[in-house]
């Protein structure tokens, strides 16, 4: 829960309008050319995704179209669709876990959703929490489950094209909430806080930092080790943030680029678009299947690395 709240807080309004302001001048420059096309696009924007942004957004530059599809856009009057999807993923996790709990009522043996969730939660508790944090790993299981399920649900939501309404136009887009560096920064900050919490509650603030230095180290190496260890305290969550962000972003960029080839080649000659279409769609299908696998793997890796780092601070047995 704390991970989700912090991610929400970091997805704040001031950051997004700045990105919007830089996108506006480019859009207004093309607006004169695209206005007439835009009216025609209102009727047909419901249909083809590729056709919609060529005639509807007024963008001619493929880089702009690509950027428009993978970055944060306003939707439903909210300034950021990544924010909407963060809240949606969080709601699915919360409501889903409550629904899964229902199958335990009355001491029944859980079936269906409860059994599926139980399998995953036991996996997180036994293989990830207890194996890496040790005997007191159980109290970190709720946090690790939150990370795992939120990242997984957010990534899976990013594979489903859901409708969005913005500026008088309906459009379908598949948005991954974790493809935003601020969302993953929120998750990494909570992970960082959990690591420090694990060390400080167990050893006290002073000894927690003294534990960073490996025992039996010659004192000549101390001036090197202290900055390195303090720096590594910050690079670990930073790496978590960038790894998740880049993995989620790269998949969508590749799929968008492949689909973008169709109108690009069709601009040269209509037969080019026809020829490239089955190739593009087949490759995009393969990349989307790969993204499905990557969703699970990245959720697992984020949770596993958080557990490993918490274990490093809770049990510094160098």
């Amino acid at each position: 829960m704390s991970a989700l709240l912090l991610a929400l807080l970091l997805q704040s309004a001031p950051a997004q309008p700045a990105a919007q302001a830089s996108a506006q001048p480019t859009e207004s420059a093309e607006a004169a050319a695209g206005v007439a096309a835009e009216h025609g696009a209102v009727q047909e924007s419901r249909a083809e995704h590729a056709a919609a942004h060529e005639s509807g957004g007024g963008h001619d530059d493929p880089a702009l179209v690509l950027a428009h599809h993978v970055t944060d856009q306003p939707v439903f009057g909210v300034w950021s669709n990544h924010l909407v999807y963060v809240v949606l993923a969080a709601l699915i996790v919360i409501v889903g876990s409550q629904a899964a709990l229902r199958s335990y009522r009355g001491g029944r043996i859980p079936r269906g959703l409860g059994a599926a969730v139980e399998g995953l939660v036991l996996f997180v508790r036994d293989e990830i929490a207890e194996a890496n944090i040790g005997h007191d790993g159980r109290k970190f299981t709720p946090l690790l489950c939150s990370f795992f399920f939120f990242i997984l649900i957010a990534a899976l939501l990013g594979l489903v094209p859901l409708p969005g309404y913005n500026a008088g136009k309906w459009s379908y887009s598949a948005t991954t909430a974790t493809a935003n560096i601020t969302v993953t920064m929120g998750l990494a900050l909570v992970s960082f806080a959990a690591q420090q919490y694990a060390g400080i509650t167990k050893y006290g603030a002073v000894r927690h930092f003294r534990n960073l230095i490996p025992p039996g180290l010659p004192w000549l190496l101390l001036p090197i080790m202290i900055p390195v260890e303090i720096l590594s305290m910050f690079t670990k969550p930073f790496a978590l943030m960038v790894r998740l962000f880049a993995n989620m972003l790269a998949g969508h960029m590749v799929v968008t680029t492949l689909i973008l080839l169709i109108p690009l080649l069709a601009q040269i000659h209509w037969a080019g678009g026809v020829v490239i279409a089955p190739v593009s769609i087949a490759l995009s299908l393969f990349i989307l299947l790969l993204e499905l696998l990557v969703a699970f793997i990245q959720a697992y890796i984020f949770t596993l690395l958080t557990a490993i780092f918490i274990g490093m601070y809770a049990h510094p047995a160098h």
Partner: protein, 76 residues
């Protein structure tokens, strides 16, 4: 020379170098995983799990370089 042309050129070279590093690392990882499974087929599950984690970490390092490449490619 136009700085944006230089940026795009370096982005292309950077992307190529990035994929060389990633494919070399993950290729070595997959090779030793195959050897391990060939030696002990009943450890295949453990080896597969460790392989996937290591591949994720190597890719994580790759994506650091990829982010730099993307920043160069979208320079204005």
């Amino acid at each position: 020379m136009n700085p944006f042309a230089l940026a795009h050129l370096s982005a292309g070279i950077g992307a190529g170098l990035t994929i060389i590093g990633a494919a070399a690392g993950i290729g070595r990882l997959a090779a030793s995983a195959m050897e391990g499974i060939a030696r002990q087929p009943n450890a295949a599950g453990d080896i597969r799990g460790a392989m996937i984690v290591a591949a994720g970490l190597i890719e994580g390092a790759t994506f650091f370089a990829l982010v730099v490449t993307i920043l160069l490619a979208i320079a204005k």
